[in-house]
Symmetry: C2
Subunit: 187 residues, 2 copies
DNA sequence: CCTTGAGTGGCACTTGGTGACATATTTTGT
DNA sequence: ACAAAATATGTCACCAAGTGCCACTCAAGG
């Protein structure tokens, strides 16, 4: 079960993340130092780095284990399912988690350091996804391409969503984009 | 024309890049400081940053204007050509430029900082590619997806090439991967 | 009550990257 | 050929991200 330790730890993490978001939104990412964030949450810079390994992760912290989780969900899918159907089914629920609010997504999109960090996270996840797919019997090349293409799809969805100012039905949009790429993966 | 200035500048850049590669290969990227590289080339750290804007760029320097160049090549394609054919035709020659030698590609693939920087470069290029495609009349969504998918394709090619230890015919492989995704872009 | 262990602050340190100033060297206009 | 403008370089100071280390606090459990 979850003891007091873990609960307070989560609370402090949330507090830091929330302060960071405030400061980023009000001053910009580059103009906010880690000292600022830590100070706003009543702690030292050193302690900040005990909760988040980089400044960027104050925004992306919730996605830390994304790769493992996605890989696990993939393994749980029916084994006869094709790789693209599988990725579609799993990732359609993740899109909303990656891009929670428009403001944040817009901030990420307009801040090179954050954008870069997000790409890095996706790339880490890709590795896990590839393994999960090959474990299902998909060939290396197809698994690799499918994982990369799925990342491209999610990225496209996010930008299209931004273009519509966050007002479109994201699940429908995700389905549409995955459907566009579907013909490529009819093994 | 190209005067002495530009020639020496290119020479110094090349020298720095070459020293950097040597040091990275022998000690690893993280274990090599910018001071080391600059020192090995007989200059100061400050001057290094007058040739490369980041430490990573000592390896990627030649790709600096990739985005603009690719965009320009896209604009030069026959206007009735579909977006995917167009991207395929342009990018098939770029694959070999991005991954020149196996050693370098392997180094990049195994060094998070370098991998991240490469992703960043591709992302910058993507922006330009999207513009070039919409200028040809392609819709925002399709241009976005095609550009992202093309990046995914190149990435997949690079990794498959690595798996074969750099011994496969890369152009043929590139054509194969682009052909796989082709059905998605039959407008 | 005492021990153990986790969270914290503080400090020094490394390193990537930037700005400012002074000084050569090279290009260019006359 | 010479002055003026543009470039290249070094040096130095500086900022901020991130890490290692040590000492301290404080709650939990025997």
């Amino acid at each position: 079960m979850e003891g007091l330790r873990d609960r307070t730890r989560r609370a402090v993490r949330a507090e830091l993340a929330s302060r960071a978001l405030e400061l980023f939104a009000e001053r910009g990412f580059d103009e906010t130092t880690v000292d600022d964030i830590a100070g706003a949450a009543g702690m030292s810079k050193r302690s900040f780095f005990r909760y988040f390994s980089t400044k960027e992760d104050a925004l992306f912290g919730e996605l830390e284990t994304m790769g493992e989780q996605v890989a696990q969900e993939i393994s749980a899918r029916p084994p006869q399912e094709g790789p693209w159907e599988c990725l579609h089914a799993v990732l359609r629920t993740w899109e909303a988690r990656i891009n929670a609010q428009v403001d944040v997504t817009r901030l990420v999109e307009s801040t090179p350091a954050l954008r870069t960090r997000l790409l890095h996270k996706r790339d880490e996840a890709r590795t896990h996804i590839i393994r999960a797919l090959t474990d299902r019997g998909v060939s290396q090349l197809e698994a690799d391409l499918a994982a990369a293409a799925a990342g491209a799809a999610l990225d496209t969805v996010a930008r299209e969503w931004l273009r519509a100012d966050g007002s479109t039905d994201r699940l429908a949009l995700t389905d549409r984009v995955f459907a566009m790429l579907r013909p490529a993966f009819l093994s």
